[in-house]
């Protein structure tokens, strides 16, 4: 399977502070990586760095052969990053629908947009591009709240919207930072299934951060463990799942 993401020698942080050091990771097209680690290990920082929202000190990031690291944040989205930030950050003064349309961009395969030239060659044709309508199909709850302002949504609805908002970018790599927080158990299961389906069937890749490792290891292909800003383990998700003891060592007390 062709490689989609390659991170080498990455170090990043906030202002003067360096949080991440010497990160190296690769992820093949259409596969899912579970990113684990204690509180404050730097998971969010890594996700945000990929999205271009932190200060990058060193290293390279390539997405489908395109160098992301020199690009400003808004061009990374054009190059195929879809970001679900940890705190959801729904645009408060936009309606649900506007939250989707303000950022939506046409599917990459169909549109010959000038950005990220050359990526089309390796992108497989998508079955169906993500549009606001398709997001509403996935989360009917949002369709009912189309004209509500972002702040008038319940906590869980905001989470759904954040995921939908990343999908309408029609990204190649989805970055999900604790997407299950605050969601009802049944929605959690549905969302996990949906993520799995999207990655499997539509060739989308994803990096998922989660407090409950068991839940995401089940749907991931790979796993990486962060500790104090460094990667301390990478391997297959299945292996890690079978060795809970190993995980406890890195993550501290978990059940």
């Amino acid at each position: 399977m062709p490689e989609l993401l390659r991170i080498e020698g990455l170090s990043a942080g906030y202002g003067q502070a360096v949080v991440l050091q010497d990160i190296a990771l690769t992820l093949p097209e259409g596969q899912t990586l579970a990113l684990l680690g204690r509180n404050g290990a730097g998971k969010t920082t890594l996700i945000d760095t990929l999205a271009g929202a932190t200060r990058q000190h060193a290293g390279t990031i390539h997405l489908g052969g395109v160098a992301l690291h020199p690009l400003p944040a808004h061009q990374r989205a054009a190059a195929g990053i879809g970001w679900v930030p940890q705190e959801r950050n729904i645009f408060a003064s936009l309606t649900v629908h506007e939250n989707l349309t303000a950022v939506a961009r046409p599917a990459r395969a169909s549109a010959g947009t000038g950005e990220a030239a050359g990526t089309d060659a390796i992108a497989p044709a998508r079955p169906r591009p993500w549009t606001p309508e398709r997001v509403y199909d996935m989360f009917p709850r949002l369709a009912e709240r189309k004209t509500h302002l972002g702040t008038q949504l319940s906590g869980g609805e905001q989470q759904m919207l954040a995921v939908g908002r990343a999908l309408v970018l029609n990204p190649r790599l989805l970055l999900l930072d604790e997407p299950l927080e605050g969601l009802a158990p049944i929605i959690v299961q549905e969302l996990l299934r949906a993520i799995r389906r999207i990655t499997r069937e539509e060739g989308l890749s994803a990096i998922i951060v989660e407090q409950h490792p068991q839940a995401i290891l089940a749907i991931s292909d790979h796993a990486a463990v962060l500790d104090r800003g460094r990667i301390v383990h990478t391997g297959s998700a299945a292996t890690l799942r079978q060795q809970p003891g190993l995980l406890d060592g890195w993550l501290g007390v978990t059940r």
Partner: protein, 261 residues
């Protein structure tokens, strides 16, 4: 008469409570009873109206219909601060703190207000022994002593979450409404936090909203399930976990197992 001994009295009750936002009924015809000393959980799918219900109970929102009764008195029309004075206190799903005050100031202020000193202007806040003692106790209890003199806005998320809950306790609640209190708190520390709540005096009634079913089932002695703004069912944890309707709309398949685990 004879029953009162066996069954504790009702502290908080709603009758036919409803709230509409334009065309949407966020709460409809909710009738709920909270007994004295209860450890009661409120669960339901996202957007079921749980937060809205808390907002109605505390007076942040005005109900479209129905009544709220606290200690046998109708409080439907009371202002939020008057309800707090009667002992009904809440936490917020998303932290609501005083960003430019320190934890110490925040708690001292709440304690002073609770002791009826909020309107006094001739003696400094820090000069009141009773206030400062209670304040220190709370700081200690929630491990905030080390950061008590830092502005709240610079605190780490975890500390802010603790302060959110400490602040509610500073108001000396008799009825405590908790809206996803452990959201954002790492798995390992959630238990500990809820323990503090569970250890409140036996006459304090607690209503808890939470999506982490492990915690909920361990904490609650009684549960109400809210769906689309209305009460679907109410009962003890076991019966709720087994209720197929609850499984269908909320728990799903997997959680059923973990509830019994």
């Amino acid at each position: 008469m004879t029953q009162t001994a066996a069954q504790p009295p009702t502290v908080l009750a709603t009758r036919g409570l409803g709230k509409r936002f334009g065309g949407i009924s966020a709460t409809c015809d909710v009738t709920l009873e909270l007994k004295k000393g209860a450890r009661h959980a409120l669960i339901g799918p996202n957007g079921a109206g749980k937060t809205t219900l808390i907002n109605l109970l505390t007076g942040v929102l005005a109900p479209s219909e129905g009544t709220i009764v606290l200690d046998g008195q109708d409080i439907t029309r009371l202002a939020p601060h008057q309800r707090v004075r009667r002992g009904m206190v809440r936490t917020f799903q998303i932290n609501q703190l005083f960003d430019s005050l320190t934890p110490q100031e925040t708690l001292a202020l709440a304690v002073a207000q609770q002791q009826g000193l909020g309107g006094q202007w001739w003696r400094p806040l820090g000069a009141r022994r009773a206030v400062m003692q209670r304040c220190e106790q709370l700081l200690e209890q929630f491990q905030l002593t080390s950061v008590m003199a830092q502005e709240t806005r610079v605190l780490a998320y975890g500390k802010r979450r603790l302060l959110e809950i400490a602040l509610a306790l500073a108001c000396a609640p008799r009825v405590l409404l908790l809206d996803e209190p452990v959201a954002g708190v790492p798995a390992g520390e959630r238990e500990e936090l809820l323990q503090t709540v569970a250890a409140l005096p036996a006459d304090v009634s607690v209503l808890l909203i939470e999506h982490d079913m492990d915690l909920v089932f361990r904490f609650a002695s009684r549960m109400t399930v809210l769906v689309n703004g209305a009460v679907l069912t109410e009962g003890d944890p076991d019966s709720i976990a087994r209720d197929p309707r609850v499984q269908a709309v909320y728990l799903g398949a997997a959680e059923q197992e973990s509830a019994h685990a």
